[in-house]
């Protein structure tokens, strides 16, 4: 009976449990769908706080096809009339390209910029002078207003603060009297400062009409999207060209610096823009977050002095601004009287990630720069959250933000010229809408100024995005042989070269560039090859006839011929000696470095401190910074860049001398990549011919040749504003090169054979 009792109790208990479960069972599965609030069902889902659920029952679609169509059909006004109406309707603060810009002026001659001649007695500030000369030195410049698409005043509009000594009076009258002003249509006005104490409005003090504004510290409220350009505030010491490099020399991991967040600046106590700076002390902790303010500014700061001033001022003097700037991970960039400040560019250059606290500031070049990649955009209202926000940013992100500051600094900000060119390119992208740069071109290396959409709008066609797009570099090249001497015998080196190159498994085509005064030889005189050989005559420029004996110009070897079918170009001099193996190997190396020049003869530059100038050397040295284009592989895009990007003055100089075109190309490619070219190993015999320069024709025999190259170096460096060439100590050899293994195991064994 004991067992029976036990069963009974056990079973009853079990039954009760299950029954309970059963009753509660309805709720258990439901509760798995997230929080179910008790009032949820009570209010049948229609009261406040009820969970939204999908509605049952038949519902109509939001639009029916017939109705959409009838809407479109009821449009009686002609679209053309509508467009014309826009231009009358949307002016002033509502100006857009569509309504305030005359596109037709840009159609005939492309995007050309005219600068008004400077009027007598009109003083220009140094900064404005720099802006104008940057435009005049650019490829967009035209001196003929009839050709121009965009007009730039030679009246200084940079400083419109009435209290400033730079302020130009009577600007309104002066502008109205300009014959080409045309209500400001197709004009761009540069401005750094506007308004004055106490409210610092963004009014320029004259009627800008239909002109575009390229303005610093512009607010989103006044910024006319796709019409104005927000530019950074820069000081009068900002270099015109060249520009300083970024501060970052190498990456550190973990990426933290001594301070997490710093700021050192004035506190205004009263008036516009003072709130944020006055509140900074709340998050200052004198350890990793160091935010220092001083009350000392202006003559009567003592009058407004508050209780914290003395303490703040004392703390302020303890720290050095530069020391903090270079040793902090983040730099606070709060608004001042105006929205922008010099601090922004300083932080950018110092690789100190800017933390923006300037609500409503349309950041510089916001139309094209993705600032989230290089800065932390804070909200003045959430100042107290800033420390936790910057602490929450992951190391990887900091590393990437920091590198991006450096890229942007060097690509768009480090000289007046860059700022001006970026402004012009942005406008050009709007004018030539369907050939404009994509966001990726602007925001990744080498940046928008070096990616010309006129070459192609496809990312694939440039040498910079293979990894980004996850695609392989091209598998074929086109050889271009530059011929200057007439064809006399079949045993000429150029014949051997042509055959050797054409035999390469990667060769798609051979182009012979006939830059010789003698007429083209008959077709049958060229050797038979498995790949097509085309002969094109080099371009001769009439303007050079006066200066040069040769009718053909040397720069024509870098013209963007549309007969080049591949992205890779193997550029060759007629006297180059190369074997098929060498070409094959060099090409496989290039595939790993498609944005650089890969080739054989290497040269170096050095700073000659005695003469205070750059020197050029062809001696065997332990390093090199140039690879001559007499035997080199590079991307076809550089032909386009050479022809389009470089100023006519440099190209004319090269053509007059028939020299230095290879140096110029090296300057250009290193400027773009910030990296040295790549030398690959070569057969001994080739080197000797190079050294002895035995077979070199006129060009190399000329004793002036070498001296000219020294001159070129210095001319180029001065135009570039800096020396872009970078030294390398590395040569790339085939993996088993000269190793103690059987030569049969080596794929590129011919390179070792003498």
């Amino acid at each position: 009976m004991q067992a029976k009792k036990r069963y009974l109790i056990l079973l009853s208990a079990g039954a009760c449990l299950i029954l309970l479960f059963c009753l509660g069972g309805i709720q258990v599965p439901l509760s798995r769908r997230g929080p179910s609030r008790p009032h949820d069902r009570r209010l049948s889902g229609y009261g406040p706080g009820a969970r939204w659920r999908h509605m049952s029952g038949y519902l109509q679609p939001f639009s029916s096809w017939e109705q959409d169509r009838s809407d479109d059909l009821t449009e009686h006004i002609s679209p053309r009339q509508k467009r014309d109406a826009n231009s009358g309707l949307y002016t002033g603060k509502r100006c857009r390209m569509e309504s305030c810009f005359d596109f037709s002026l840009c159609e005939r001659n492309g995007f050309k910029v005219y600068v008004y001649p400077q009027q007598k007695g009109e003083k220009l500030s140094e900064s404005y002078q720099n802006i104008l000369s940057s435009i005049e030195g650019s490829r967009f410049y035209t001196s003929d207003p009839g050709q121009a698409c965009l007009f730039v005043l030679s009246l200084d509009t940079l400083d419109r603060d009435q209290l400033s000594p730079q302020y130009v009076h009577n600007l309104k009258a002066k502008i109205q009297s300009l014959p080409l002003w045309n209500g400001g249509k197709n004009h761009i006005i540069f401005n750094l400062y506007s308004g004055t104490w106490p409210d610092y409005t963004e009014d320029l003090g004259f009627d800008i009409g239909l002109a575009m504004l390229a303005k610093a510290s512009i607010s989103t409220e006044n910024f006319r999207p796709d019409f104005d350009v927000s530019i950074p505030l820069f000081s009068k010491d900002h270099p015109r060209t060249g520009g300083e490099k970024g501060y970052l020399k190498y990456n550190t991991i973990p990426p933290y610096r001594k301070y997490m967040l710093v700021f050192k600046g004035k506190r205004y106590l009263t008036g516009i823009g003072s709130d944020t700076r006055n509140a900074l002390y709340h998050i200052h902790n004198s350890e990793d977050v160091v935010l220092l303010t001083t009350c000392k500014h202006g003559k009567d700061w003592q009058k407004h002095k508050d209780a914290r001033c003395n303490k703040d001022n004392a703390e302020y003097d303890k720290y050095d601004y530069r020391e903090m700037l270079y040793n902090s991970t983040f730099c606070l960039v709060p608004r001042g009287r105006r929205l922008g400040s010099f601090r922004f560019l300083e932080a950018l250059q110092a690789a100190c990630v800017p933390v923006m606290l300037s609500n409503g500031w349309e950041l510089p070049f916001s139309e094209i720069i993705d600032w989230n990649r290089a800065a932390v955009i804070g909200d003045e209202r959430l100042l107290l959250q800033i420390p936790s926000t910057v602490h929450s940013i992951h190391q990887d992100k900091i590393l990437s933000l920091r590198q991006q500051t450096q890229f942007l600094w060097e690509a768009y900000f480090n000289s007046v010229e860059k700022i001006v060119l970026t402004t012009l390119e942005i406008i050009q992208d709007r004018v030539l809408l369907h050939t404009s740069r994509s966001n990726l071109m602007w925001n990744s290396l080498p940046g928008g100024l070096f990616t010309l959409p006129q070459y192609s709008t496809s990312l694939r066609d440039f040498p910079f995005y293979y990894a980004e797009l996850g695609i392989k570099p091209p598998s074929k090249f086109t050889a271009i042989i530059h011929v200057v001497t007439p064809l006399v015998s079949q045993s000429q080196p150029v014949m051997k070269l042509l055959v050797a190159v054409a035999k390469s498994q990667y060769c798609a085509q051979v182009i012979v560039l006939w830059n010789c005064e003698k007429p083209l030889p008959a077709k049958h005189r060229w050797p038979a090859t498995s790949v097509p050989v085309t002969v094109i005559e080099g371009e001769s420029k009439s303007h050079l006839l006066v200066f040069s004996k040769s009718h053909q110009v040397i720069s024509s070897r870098f013209l963007p011929y549309n007969t080049i079918p591949t992205d890779a170009v193997l550029s060759l001099d007629e006297d180059t000696v190369l074997s098929t193996t060498e070409v094959d190997f060099a090409f496989t190396v290039w595939q790993s470095f498609p944005d650089r020049i890969v080739g054989y003869p290497a040269r170096s530059h050095f700073w000659d401190s005695n003469k205070e100038r750059w020197g050029y050397t062809s001696k065997w040295t332990n390093d090199y910074s140039m690879v001559l284009t007499g035997a080199a592989i590079y991307h076809k895009y550089y032909h386009d860049l050479y022809t389009t990007y470089l100023p006519a003055s440099l190209k004319i100089m090269v053509d007059q001398m028939s020299n230095c075109e290879d140096i110029l190309m090296n300057f250009l490619v290193s400027l773009v990549t910030k990296l040295p070219p790549i030398k690959v190993t070569q057969k001994k015999q080739y080197k000797e011919t190079m050294m002895g320069q035995s077979s070199r024709a006129s060009r190399w025999a000329d004793p002036d040749h070498f001296a000219q190259r020294q001159t070129c170096m210095n001319k180029f460096a001065s135009w570039f504003g800096a020396m872009p060439l970078v030294h390398s100590q590395m040569r790339l050899d085939p993996v088993l090169f000269k190793d103690q293994v059987s030569i049969l195991r080596k794929k590129y064994r011919d390179i070792e054979r003498l």
């Binding site: 406040p48 659920r53 999908h54 939001f62 169509r69 955009i377 590393l399 590198q403 496809s458 040569r731």
Partner: protein, 570 residues
């Protein structure tokens, strides 16, 4: 108890020495237990659909059951949208606050039916199918909260997708009646068809105070950059038609125009283009012989020849999307779905999601004035790029256009990115199609830097117990001028490292017997490579045939003049 006769026959065997009275008692108990078990099982393991059914029966949620709200004539009307509104002026960021997930919380108002004093509804359609889908998708997402006090963003359940079906004034009054309206702060309205005849404003005409507008068809004059969100006009064909993705490549036609209500000025222009370029262009119009209705939306005609729409879009490389009365056109969605590159001719139109999407990679924008040059412009685009655009167009549709859910969640993500910009999705995340995301290589050290020699390098030497060779390595390496630090990792738990050296213990490291070049070692390493490649999902290693040597390596040159002499000599 007759039904349990089966059990009664077994009873004696189970519980011997039991009386009949007890037996019945137990049987009843067992039955109850069994029933209970079955019932529990039903609720626990039944497919989830039953839950919602249970839910519906419980709630009876239907549009018709929503409470009726009568709007007094004198009910306040919000102010017209303020064109100067920006996030920092018209949006209350404190509601969103700091949150570790960096995700905004979105509240949806419960459904109500608004009628005026005469009982006439404010909208002719009420809640539309699409808006219902949109709100449901949001309520199922991570953004959703049903706690109104925690919400950062509020979405009214008043459907304003199509202005045509709205009574403007009454709708505005209804908005103002929402309990948390507060001048429209942090409220988000979705509208796809703005404006009405004859002018067709490019933004919703309903006065809405400071509310954010997710609008289809904004022009640059109505769009408040950084505040509003430009969204696509949803095409119902997205859900109805299954167009499998086609491989990018050349198509039968070069340019296709399929819109049916094109202004005659533009149609004439297109006809002229067709005359000049012939077969490359296909200009379709509505079929005159077909009756109106849903079916006619799926057909297009050219000179009596009937084509299936949107299937025909897949036969062309480029598809024209021209402005109509409105700037935003549902045709854009169809064109993208077909993987046809849209040629957009709608001056001043703010493209959908233009704040984050790089339309230059998926479309061609041509000013309306240049319609006549369209053919020449498109011909100048390289083939490779056309293919890229075709792929990109299709991916945009899949990710951001294909459903009301996609449109709604993208809108919320864009607003989320503005509020937490430091945690925003990147350009690559928004714009790279999966195939690119998988294969692209983004080096974390992307800046070309040539570091100075000064900081030198740190040598890390891993050792087990071969002290002698360790010392040899240390001696050799410490001769290198640029060595900044030497770190020895002692990888032997059974022995302590020799005296005089700094200790470094690595408890996780397992002891490996002296490395050897034997066969098993190589096999193991091959297995590792296969394992790694399968985990990575791809083989990230690349083969190259070159090696870096010093410039004068093995050159016939005096060794003492070389920077790195004697390399490679044994």
């Amino acid at each position: 108890m007759y039904t349990s006769g089966k059990y009664s026959s077994r009873g004696p065997a189970l519980i011997p020495r039991m009386k009949t009275k007890h037996r019945i008692y137990y049987i009843t108990l067992f039955s109850v237990v069994l029933l209970g078990l079955i019932a529990t099982g039903m609720f626990q393991f039944w497919p989830h659909s039953i839950e919602s059914t249970a839910d519906w029966t419980l709630d009876k949620r239907s549009v018709h059951d929503a409470p009726l709200i009568r709007l007094p004539v004198s009910s306040p009307i919000p102010e017209r949208g303020d064109l100067s509104c920006r996030m920092h002026t018209c949006f209350d960021v404190y509601r969103c606050g700091y949150n570790p997930k960096n995700r905004i919380k979105v509240y949806i108002y419960p459904l109500q039916r608004f009628v005026d004093e005469l009982g006439v509804p404010i909208s002719s359609t009420g809640l539309s199918r699409e808006y219902n889908d949109l709100l449901s998708a949001i309520s199922d997402s991570d953004f959703y909260t049903d706690d109104v006090t925690r919400a950062c963003l509020f979405i009214p359940s008043i459907d304003v997708l199509n202005q045509n079906s709205l009574r403007i004034r009454e709708t505005a009054q209804a908005l103002a009646m929402l309990p948390r309206w507060d001048k429209g702060m942090n409220h988000l309205l979705f509208n796809m068809l703005p404006g009405g005849p004859p002018d067709y404003n490019t933004a919703l005409d309903v006065p809405r105070d400071r509310a954010l507008l997710a609008g289809g068809g904004f022009s640059t004059w109505t769009y408040r950059q950084g505040y509003d969100v430009s969204i696509p006009v949803y095409s119902p064909l997205s859900a109805d038609v299954d167009l499998p993705e086609r491989q990018p490549g050349p198509r039968h036609y070069f340019i296709l125009s399929s819109q049916t209500a094109i202004h005659r000025e533009y149609r004439a222009e297109l006809e002229r283009l067709k005359e000049e370029n012939g077969e490359a262009l296909l200009l379709l119009d509505k079929c005159s012989n077909l009756s109106q209705g849903a079916a006619s939306a799926r057909k297009r005609c050219y000179k009596g020849q009937v084509y299936d729409y949107p299937q025909i879009l897949q036969e062309s490389s480029f598809c024209v999307v021209l402005r109509g009365a409105r700037l935003g056109q549902a045709a854009l969605s169809d064109v993208l779905q077909a993987g046809c590159v849209p040629v957009i001719l709608a001056d001043s139109y703010i493209l959908p999601f233009s704040e984050v999407l790089d339309w230059k990679r998926a479309s061609v924008v041509i000013p309306e004035e240049k319609l006549s040059e369209m053919y020449t412009i498109l011909k100048s685009i390289p083939h490779r790029q056309v293919e890229e655009m075709q792929r990109q167009a299709r991916w945009f549709w899949e990710a951001y256009f294909s459903s009301m859910k996609a449109i709604g969640l993208t809108t919320l993500q864009i607003i989320n990115d503005r509020i937490y910009p430091y945690a925003a999705r990147t350009y690559e995340q928004w714009n790279n199609p999966p195939v690119v995301k998988w294969s692209s290589v983004n080096s974390p050290l992307f800046l070309p830097l040539i570091p100075p020699r000064a900081p030198g390098f740190t040598a890390v030497v891993l050792t087990y117990d071969r002290v002698e060779s360790l010392f040899r390595v240390i001696t050799e390496i410490s001769k290198v001028p640029s060595l900044a630090k030497l770190l020895v990792v002692w990888n032997n738990q059974n022995k302590s490292p020799p005296e005089g050296e700094k200790k470094f213990k690595c408890p996780e490291c397992t002891a490996i017997d002296g490395l050897s070049l034997d066969q098993t070692h190589m096999v193991e390493r091959s297995e590792c490579i296969n394992k790694f490649a399968s985990v990575f999902g791809t083989m990230p290693l690349k083969v190259v045939e070159h090696r870096a040597d010093p410039v004068l390596y093995k050159d016939d040159f005096p060794e003492k003049l070389k920077s790195f002499p004697n390399i490679g000599s044994l």
